[in-house]
């Protein structure tokens, strides 16, 4: 496997741009690298392997759709390299660019973009123009049955429900046997119940597909649920790519942590490292916390740190504490919300002051401990879960003097 950090003339990978991600251009999946200044700035690098689903996640306006359109061939970025399963689709350094109709892509548009003047089966057949008519019609029928639309072949799009329209769009995208399947916010136009059903169907369908799949979404939960890999896009720049669990637990920066909806994000100073115990000590507003060993950050250096809400533990309230817990803190439950399977509690700490820590816990644990607003509680921050990141100014953080 050949890894490149420099991609022909003019596409030097400048790691100080914060985007030192490498591109594997010999892989079997899709390799994408895009750079442009206009109309929106882009600095994007990612790979998606065969059979893998990569979710391109970011707030609206982050450039997700432009990236997708570049892969399809509907947008030509100033500098770009797009290779898909051995086929070179764009290489701006060689002046090479294939138009959309020359690329074997399957695209599901945000509002499905079904041809309104054609029936469901005719919509699918439009992708099968390379087959003889009879074979095309039979194959279209077969694909429609794969997405559970048998019997609705002759219906016009407007007479189909949102979920059914989405299935026609998926069938049309798959009919061409594409080398990459692209899904642009495919669940945004249907209601919650339909969405959950479509999630299941997509997960099922995926097992039968061998091409790379790229899902564009602004919904983190959706991305985490469906995708093998997340690629975090912010202001046109890919900040991090990794498994959903890894990106959530180990974001490369506070920006990524915030984009991953991380609640417990703070600033501290590194105190010391203890390689024997595999621990790093940090001082946070006068309180010293024990974190996992992270020697990349030198003692004295200012860092951002975070802990996932599931790594905040509640001490059992009706038993004496044995006092040997990791990073013990006490406080008052400032807010308490019960969702279907778990509860979210925000703890206003006694020390350090003016700090709120968010924790999630299974509903039965919350009940057994009589958790509720205004209750005094003791909690532990698991050292394992404390993750350090380079310092950057946090929005809404009023205190400059953090420790």
């Amino acid at each position: 496997m050949r890894w490149v950090t420099i991609l022909r003339d003019g596409m030097v990978d400048d790691s100080n741009a914060g985007n030192a991600m490498r591109l594997d251009i010999d892989g079997q999946g899709v390799a994408v690298r895009l750079r442009q200044a206009k109309p929106i700035p882009l600095d994007v690098t990612f790979n998606c392997q065969k059979g893998e689903m990569l979710a391109l996640v970011g707030p609206s306006g982050s450039g997700k759709t432009t990236v997708l359109r570049s892969i399809v061939g509907l947008h030509q970025s100033e500098q770009g390299f797009v290779k898909c399963q051995e086929e070179l689709w764009q290489d701006s350094s060689a002046g090479h660019f294939l138009a959309a109709h020359q690329r074997k892509v399957g695209m599901v548009f945000q509002n499905y973009a079904l041809f309104p003047h054609l029936t469901a089966i005719q919509n699918v057949q439009e992708s099968l123009a390379h087959l003889p008519k009879q074979a095309g019609s039979e194959y279209a029928k077969e694909i429609l049955s794969r997405v559970h639309l048998s019997g609705l072949e002759d219906r016009y799009p407007k007479t189909l429900s949102g979920g059914q329209q989405q299935r026609v769009a998926v069938a049309r995208a798959l009919a061409r046997e594409p080398k990459v399947l692209l899904l642009d916010e495919p669940f945004s136009a249907v209601d919650q119940v339909t969405r959950r059903r479509l999630y299941r169907e997509l997960a099922e369908l995926r097992r039968t597909l061998s091409m790379p799949i790229i899902l564009v979404t602004h919904d983190l939960e959706e991305a985490t649920l469906l995708a093998d890999k997340l690629c975090i896009l912010h202001k046109g720049v890919t900040l991090q790519t990794g498994t959903p669990l890894d990106v959530a637990a180990h974001p490369v920066s506070a920006t990524v942590a915030r984009l991953m909806d991380q609640q417990n994000l703070f600033v501290a100073h590194v105190v010391s490292h203890n390689p024997q115990a595999q621990k790093t000590l940090i001082r946070w507003r006068g309180v010293v916390l024990e974190a996992n060993y992270q020697p990349d950050y030198l003692p004295g250096v200012k860092v951002c740190w975070m802990i996932q809400s599931a790594n905040v533990l509640l001490h059992r309230r009706h038993r004496p504490s044995n006092g040997e817990r990791e990073n013990p803190l006490s406080g008052i439950v400032a807010s308490y919300t019960v969702l279907s399977e778990y509860a979210i509690a925000q703890i206003a700490c006694d020390a350090p002051e003016n700090v709120v820590i968010t924790m999630t816990l299974p509903i039965h644990v919350a009940r057994r401990n009589d958790l509720g607003q205004g209750e005094q509680v003791k909690i532990s921050l698991l050292a394992e879960g404390i993750h350090l990141m380079p310092f950057e100014k946090l929005r809404g953080d009023k205190s400059i003097n953090v420790d």
Binding site: V72, G73, L74, A99, A100, H101, K104, V105, G106, M107, F109, Q110, N111, A113, L114, F115, P116, H117, E126, S127, A129, H130, Y156, P157, K158, R172, A173, R176
Partner: protein, 222 residues
């Protein structure tokens, strides 16, 4: 009832539509999908017949196509006769005068097609030409019908331009609208009434047809 005049009007309308349809398709689609410097100016120029008094347009045509200008003399040498006071001259005038009636409905129809539909076509391996035939034309159909109907009916009833450029030569430039005026001048109200009624009914039927086409497609595809 001046059948010769009615037939001439039909011929004039038919010729105008035949020439204007491809022009309208190309220009309408171009204006719908392209943005360029000076687009507003081009659109304003094309829309001018909507607001210009027909006699004004007729006057300029009479001057520029007559043998007092280089263009007029060139055309006269090329065609063997002058364009003014001839059927060909009327066709040229009608084409210019009907530009907005042909282009605007077609432009609106192409504009109304969501961009994603054309892109979806490309994602189905359709070449741009195929996208035009398979997606754009079927979806802009009502607009094209409307352009044809408007151009045809409007040419049929055109008076000012025809009178200025063509005069009133029977069988050559005397259209039905001129014939009606002619009959009224001669106090032949009976003939004027029957010809007016024919025009009225014809206009109603064609416009109703174009609305029906629009409604049908909307009901069917939404």
């Amino acid at each position: 009832m001046d059948w010769e005049a009615l037939l001439l009007s039909m011929k004039l309308s038919g010729c105008t539509v035949l020439v204007l349809l491809p022009i309208g398709l190309l220009t309408g689609r171009w204006l719908a999908y392209h943005h360029f410097y000076g687009k507003s100016a081009v659109q304003a120029l094309l829309a001018i017949p909507l607001v210009l008094p027909p006699t004004v347009l007729g006057y300029y045509l009479l001057i520029s196509l007559g043998n007092a200008t280089v263009l007029g003399r060139f055309l006269e040498r090329w065609l063997g006769h002058t364009l003014v006071f001839s059927f060909e001259g009327l066709v040229v005038a009608s084409i210019l005068f009907n530009l907005p009636f042909a282009i605007q409905p077609i432009q609106r129809a192409f504009e109304a097609i969501p961009r994603e539909l054309r892109e979806a076509g490309a994602c189905c391996a359709m070449t741009p030409a195929k996208v035009f035939w398979r997606i754009e034309l079927p979806l802009s159909w009502p607009g094209i019908v409307s352009a044809v109907v408007l151009t045809f009916a409007h040419t049929l009833g055109e008076f000012g331009v025809v009178l200025m450029v063509g005069g009133s030569i029977p069988g050559e430039t005397k259209t039905i609208a001129i014939a009606i005026y002619d009959r009224v001048q001669a106090f032949d109200n009976g003939a004027a009434a029957s010809m007016s009624a024919v025009l009225l009914v014809f206009s109603l039927v064609t416009i109703a047809l174009s609305y029906a086409v629009g409604d049908y497609t909307k009901r069917r595809y939404g």
